[in-house]
């Protein structure tokens, strides 16, 4: 009797242990360790590198910390069991947050904030600097041409080329419309190179300028009246959007934000746009763009090509801006010459590229402050890249 009970208990125990063993085995298949691939590890290392760059060297920490951490989030391996954890699983929290990127409504909100924090005085006081912002857009179309040669479709080439505009929100906006499947790589590439502007631009600035040119002193900008500052966003919007209506979401919000700032009567709205709103969107944008780099979707040959083309487009944009200034100087009178070191600022990485002009300028003349002058082409670059995005969208969308 007692023996049979023991045997029965042993049988129960054995089946229970089997049950536990199977459960544990099943649980293991759900763990990140079980599902990890070399791709995940590579992406996690890239994410850690971004975080390192942001903290150690302060390269665009506002972008690289959220993107870097987003890469970590996006590359935690998991079993695709419909648990709604991944960014590409419809209905997951990350997927819902990612809608702002895929539907393209984060970038215009970022532009609203940029408009509300940008002072266009430098540009208004010396409007010829706008042309430098236009010249630097050669980076976009240079990369577009090369991408075509590398076998990308025209719409994909357009989305890749926009990296050369050095404008993350514009790159995301355009790629979400023209080539959604490449958006992750394009966004990460655009933001990475924006952060690496201090490394990419100076060698080309030195290479393309003579010592004499680097010492050119520009006339101090005149004081700009508040009326001029109010007129600027209104005329800017009407003119650019009548020319390229497809740039409306970005340009509309940029100039609207600027009017909030300059009108002087909507201080609270301007403060919100350039403060809490842009911060919130930057966090959401950064983390979701980072998380969109899931190794399974991201680590492809195309992504590597896009990274190469992105770097090239930055170089072309930088060189085009500097060379344009040098040519422009040929027709300018002596007192009105422009220091070609501000040519790099035509890419719209605001204000980093303008800061580079200042830093490199000070190396050669510690009393020649170029920051104020460089801000002109820098903000013109924002307008120029948004116009260029509108053109690409109009032609290829």
């Amino acid at each position: 009797m007692f023996g049979s009970i023991l045997l029965q208990a042993a049988g129960v125990q054995e089946s229970f242990l089997q049950f536990l063993g199977k459960n544990l085995e099943l649980f293991l298949t759900y763990t990140g360790v079980y599902n990890a691939t070399p791709g995940h590890i590579i992406m996690i290392l890239i994410g850690l590198f971004f975080i390192f760059l942001a903290i150690k060297y302060e390269f665009e920490p506002m972008l690289l910390i959220p993107i870097g951490f987003g890469i970590l989030i996006g590359n935690i391996p998991f079993k695709d069991a419909g648990l709604q954890v991944g960014i590409y699983e419809q209905g997951s929290v990350l997927n819902i947050l990612y809608q702002g990127v895929t539907s393209g409504w984060y970038p215009p909100l970022i532009f609203l904030g940029i408009g509300a924090m940008t002072d266009f005085s430098a540009l208004i006081s010396n409007p010829k600097l706008m042309l430098i912002g236009a010249a630097a857009q050669f980076g976009i179309f240079g990369a577009y041409t090369i991408a075509l040669q590398m076998g990308f479709e025209p719409n994909q080439a357009g989305a890749i080329g926009i990296i050369g505009g050095a404008d993350g929100p514009t790159a995301i906006f355009l790629s979400s419309k023209l080539a959604p499947n490449l958006m992750g790589a394009i966004a990460v590439s655009a933001y990475s190179y924006m952060a690496l502007v201090p490394i990419i631009q100076p060698p080309f600035m030195r290479l393309l300028t003579t010592k004499k040119e680097r010492l050119i002193r520009m006339k101090p900008p005149r004081a700009v009246s508040s009326t001029e500052k109010i007129i600027f966003p209104i005329v800017g919007l009407l003119l650019t959007c009548f020319l390229v209506p497809s740039g409306l979401p970005l340009l509309g919000m940029l100039f609207f934000g600027n009017l909030l700032k300059e009108s002087g009567v909507t201080r609270r709205l301007a403060e919100t746009a350039r403060g809490p709103l842009i911060d919130t969107i930057t966090i959401l944008l950064g983390i979701t763009v980072g998380a969109s780099t899931q190794a399974t979707q991201f680590l492809t040959l195309n992504s590597i090509k896009i990274f190469g083309l992105g770097a090239l487009s930055f170089v072309i944009a930088t060189c085009a801006g500097i060379i344009f200034v040098k040519i422009f100087n040929l027709i300018l009178k002596d007192g009105n010459k422009i220091n070609p070191l501000i040519g790099n600022a035509g890419v719209s990485a605001v204000p980093d590229s303008a800061r580079i002009s200042q830093t490199v300028g000070l190396e050669y003349d510690p009393t020649n402050y170029l920051l104020m002058h460089a801000m002109g082409p820098n903000v013109a670059g924002v307008i120029g890249s948004a116009v260029a995005a509108g053109i690409l969208l109009g032609f290829l969308g």
């Binding site: 912002g133 236009a134 179309f141 041409t145 025209p154 005329v235 301007a270 116009v387 690409l392």
Partner: protein, 296 residues
């Protein structure tokens, strides 16, 4: 003040009426009609009847509930499209199909009239007010069986007999992106795009440059004018006012002070000329976005 309020109110009314227009059925078009359905599309009841396809030409969703379909010029309200059916909400650039079987009790999309292949068939779509004509078409008589009469390209003006009958889908089937194919064929290197796009970018920013150069000139001229005006107001007192030394002002002030205080005892007094400096406050700082005090 009241006039101002009325003006603002009117402005809003006008703005909203423009906005509302985009949501109305004005962007719907009669897109394709099959008058003689012998061996073509069948309805949910498994029957073949003539059908009328409508197309939303806009990029916004349109609800056609409450609009009217008719085949009688004298009776625009012949078939009111029922309200409360979610299927009457037509997404952007999408189609919907109505069966002209004279059996409205079969559902929202079955109208109360039929089409006759032997005669001309007039079909019209009226807005919810029953007066505003949105679209109309007269289908010529003697249509061939199973050949529809429709717009060659969805929503566009040209009508033709369509041997490829396409109920609820595009009349012209696109198997590629025409724009992209065009670029691939004619601009494989990208030079055309580069030249065109850079020309547009340069033109845009060049126009801005021209405008703001002129605006700048006006602003400089205006500030000079204001400065002169300010100087002119001061010169109303004396042509060379402000050029006297501080000592003269001190002497005048002392004389005035002594005269006004003549009745008092003489006291020890120190008179100084001190520069008045406005103290900094965040409330008056431009940094905080407040408007400057008007200069008068």
């Amino acid at each position: 003040m009241i006039n101002k309020k009325i003006g603002v109110l009117l402005l809003f009314v006008v703005l909203f009426s423009f906005g509302a227009n985009a949501q109305r059925a004005a962007s719907m078009r009669i897109n394709e009609v099959l008058v003689d359905n012998e061996d073509n599309f069948v309805d949910d009841y498994g029957k073949r009847h003539p059908w009328i396809e409508l197309y939303n030409t806009s990029a916004g969703t349109v609800n056609i509930a409450g609009c009217y379909l008719t085949n009688d010029k004298n009776n625009p309200k012949k078939y009111p499209i029922p309200k409360g059916d979610v299927l009457t909400i037509i997404p952007p650039h999408q189609h919907t199909l109505f069966w002209a079987d004279g059996e409205p009790n079969r559902g929202t999309f079955h109208v109360n009239f039929t089409l006759d292949p032997a005669t001309d068939n007039y079909i019209a779509l009226y807005d919810a007010d029953g007066r505003t004509l949105i679209d109309e078409i007269t289908i010529p008589a003697a249509q061939k069986a199973d050949v529809s009469y429709g717009r060659v390209i969805d929503g566009q003006d040209e009508w033709a007999q369509l041997t490829k009958v396409t109920p609820s889908t595009n009349n012209l089937t696109l198997d590629s992106n025409e724009k992209i194919e065009n670029f691939k064929e004619n601009d494989s290197i990208g030079i055309g795009m580069t030249v065109t796009a850079m020309a547009v970018v340069f033109s845009g920013l060049f126009l801005l440059y021209i405008i703001f150069k002129q605006v700048g000139k006006f602003a400089i001229a205006a500030s000079k004018r204001n400065a002169k005006k300010a100087a002119g107001t001061a010169s109303g007192v004396s042509a060379d006012a402000g050029e006297e030394s501080g000592e003269i002002f001190a002497a005048i002030a002392t004389a005035l002070y002594e005269m006004s205080d003549d009745n008092h005892d003489v006291e020890n007094t120190v008179l100084t000329i001190r520069k008045v400096a406005r103290t900094y406050s965040p409330w008056s700082s431009k940094l905080y976005g407040l408007r400057e005090v008007p200069r008068k």
